[in-house]
């Protein structure tokens, strides 16, 4: 069966003055119908850029290579007209900061109606109804009143609900949520994640959850892909990755998660060093400099994410000798 979304050998580069910055390096991944994939990595790992590239939403100085297929149809570098029938309708994206991500000069209702009218062929009244229905679905208090408010008049959590309503209004096949809870405090974060899980069940929408927070991914996702310096380093089911991490980077991330049992007086274990500069492409493993299990081979030869599709795999010489 053709997967919902299939990314193959995606490379994203940015021209920055004289130099060239590589954000995503030959990345491949698959999102199956109905599943939730967590894409986890620290800032600059290339998580967001991967999916912005897939939807043709990158900045103008970006150059993209590879292949992105939606239900088997190539959509990378597709003409704008074709992308416009896909974006918001089949694949929707929810962004991190809903204050700057919503148009400050338009009322909430108008921004929701716009999608409904464009993709669902609704007239003004129907679109209004639909917008109201969506605000009820994401459980915004007093949805009728909210339709006439501007984004700056809502709280952060309410804005993120509006963002999710905007993403879900056309019942897309795939919702890409880019750090949807990062700007929110913990209780609101739990509510938003609960909402995403509920909408997923309701509409059988596949979800890609982009996050730097392993705990957030664990709560919602079936499978997890760990990214480091523009490449996938480990992929497997949530259970596999959490219970038996294969890549030293994943193990390091898990070790640095605080828990209630952690003694507040001791420092959390941290991974020493910094991710490599995106301006250079290391010959070997990008994580070698920071890895406690590093071998000579790690600097000379780049490990590949082995394993067949869907299996637990890590790009590390320790596991795929």
């Amino acid at each position: 069966m053709t997967p919902l979304l299939e990314i193959r050998d995606l490379t994203v580069r940015f021209d920055v003055g004289d130099a060239e910055l590589t954000a995503v390096r030959e990345l491949s991944l698959v999102v199956a119908e109905g599943e939730c994939l967590g894409v986890v990595g620290e800032s600059g790992a290339g998580k967001s850029q991967t999916f912005l590239a897939a939807l043709g939403l990158l900045a103008e100085n970006a150059r993209v290579e590879g292949s992105v297929r939606y239900r088997g149809r190539e959509i990378l570098n597709a003409p704008r007209r074709e992308l416009d029938t896909l974006r918001g309708r089949r694949i929707a994206m929810v962004f991190q900061d809903p204050l700057s991500g919503l148009t400050s000069t338009l009322r909430i209702g108008r921004q929701l109606e716009e999608s409904a009218r464009r993709h669902l062929g609704m007239n003004a009244r129907q679109a209004r109804e639909k917008a109201l229905e969506m605000l009820q679905t994401v459980r915004l208090p007093d949805p009728k009143h909210c339709l006439d408010l501007y984004p700056f008049e809502l709280s952060g959590g309410m804005r993120q609900r509006v963002m999710i309503a905007l993403g879900m209004i056309c019942r897309p096949d795939l919702l890409i949520a880019d750090e949807p809870t990062t700007a929110l405090d913990v209780t609101i974060q739990a509510q938003i994640l609960g909402l995403l899980a509920e909408l997923r069940r309701l509409a059988n929408t596949s979800v890609v959850l982009i996050t730097h927070d392993l705990a957030v991914a664990a709560g919602l996702c079936d499978r997890i892909l760990i990214m480091y310096s523009g490449r996938p380093v480990e992929s497997g089911t949530t259970r596999e990755v959490f219970n038996a991490p294969k890549h030293p980077y994943t193990a390091g991330l898990l070790a640095s998660l605080p828990s209630l049992a952690t003694d507040p007086a001791t420092d959390l274990p941290a991974i020493p060093g910094q991710p490599p500069d995106a301006l250079v492409t290391p010959r070997g493993c990008a994580f070698a400099e920071r890895c406690e299990h590093v071998m000579d081979r790690c600097f000379a030869e780049r490990p590949l994410l082995g394993g067949t599709r869907g299996r637990h795999a890590a790009a590390c010489h320790l596991v795929s000798p």
């Binding site: 103008e60 918001g88 991500g101 148009t103 000069t105 716009e114 464009r118 905007l166």
Partner: protein, 309 residues
């Protein structure tokens, strides 16, 4: 919004008072007087003239009388244009100046904003570079230089358009003064609009709009233009002031019977009431236009609307 408007109008009163005071004393500080002519007048005649116009009173007394009259809407008689009072002279000149100024402003606004928008949408391409080069030139050359060049080229050399004169506001007579007056403002407006567009086009909410599957046209019209016009609207007040003051010189160069001609003649002749009257009228206009520009600002940005209380 109403309270905001009323408060701004209330603040305008001391401003106008300051303008009237400053223009009164500055005019008097200038050397010479209204009745200095090449042939010296008989001292007795001069004394009679001074007495007739109240110029024999102490300066502060004159100031008091003048303010009292202005508050009643009376700008007094012209000292040089006999048989005319200042209000009549302004009533003759203002329609001409207004017609010229409004046309120039509209041209600057429509053409400037359009150029700015298209330049931003063609960022770093030929149209962008060409427009911005022209805009820099437009800003660098003052209108009192452009005006004679335009008159020489289109009027004397090509003989396409009249060199000067009003001819009751015939289109052909208006073309050159309007261009000379609009050009610097057009250039600034184009740059502001382009800058606003480029900044907004990079904003996160524009990416959201594109992610919704809206065609670029709809993205620009619904999500970009309103925010992108904000810096431009902030400049509308100064732009109008620039056109009004620029008009004083342009009217002289093209020999147009507007307020500007009276103003400059009045200043040269030390026609105190005439100059002060025009300064007060123009000051009022600029204050009102600035207020309108602030209100337009609020219309564009709902967040500003909230702060105007």
């Amino acid at each position: 919004m109403l309270a905001f408007t009323l408060r701004r109008l209330a603040v305008a009163i001391p401003t106008l008072l300051a303008i009237a005071t400053a223009s009164f004393f500055l005019m008097r500080a200038a050397p010479g007087g209204p009745f200095d002519t090449e042939a010296d007048l008989d001292p007795e005649v001069l004394e009679n003239l001074y007495r007739a116009y109240g110029l024999d009173q102490p300066l502060l007394e004159q100031y008091r009388i003048y303010l009292a009259n202005v508050l009643q809407g009376d700008f007094g008689p012209s000292l040089v244009y006999e048989d005319f009072n200042v209000t009549e002279l302004i009533a003759i000149g203002l329609p001409v100046s207004a017609r010229l100024g409004v046309t120039a402003m509209l041209v600057a606004l429509l053409l400037g904003a359009t150029c700015g928008i298209v330049a931003a949408l063609r960022h770093n391409r030929l149209f962008d570079h060409a427009t911005m080069t022209m805009a820099m030139t437009g800003i660098a050359i003052p209108s009192f230089v452009t005006a004679p060049i335009l008159a020489l080229f289109f009027g004397l050399y090509l003989k396409l358009l009249p060199v000067a004169g009003w001819n009751d506001g015939a289109a052909a007579n208006m073309v050159l003064p309007v261009i000379a007056l609009a050009l610097p403002q057009l250039a600034i407006i184009a740059r502001l609009m382009r800058g606003g567009m480029l900044e907004v086009l990079r904003a996160n909410f524009v990416r959201t709009a594109r992610a919704k599957g809206l065609p670029e046209r709809q993205v620009v019209i619904n999500h970009v233009l309103q925010s992108a016009a904000v810096p431009l609207v902030g400049y509308l007040g100064p732009a109008l002031a620039g056109i009004m003051t620029g008009s004083l010189v342009i009217e002289l160069i093209f020999d147009l019977p507007g307020v500007g001609r009276y103003f400059i003649q009045g200043a040269l002749n030390r026609d105190y009431p005439l100059v002060m009257g025009i300064v007060i009228v123009y000051g009022t206009l600029i204050i009102l236009l600035n207020l309108m520009s602030d209100l337009a600002y609020a219309a564009l940005d709902p967040r500003v609307r909230r702060t105007y209380r």
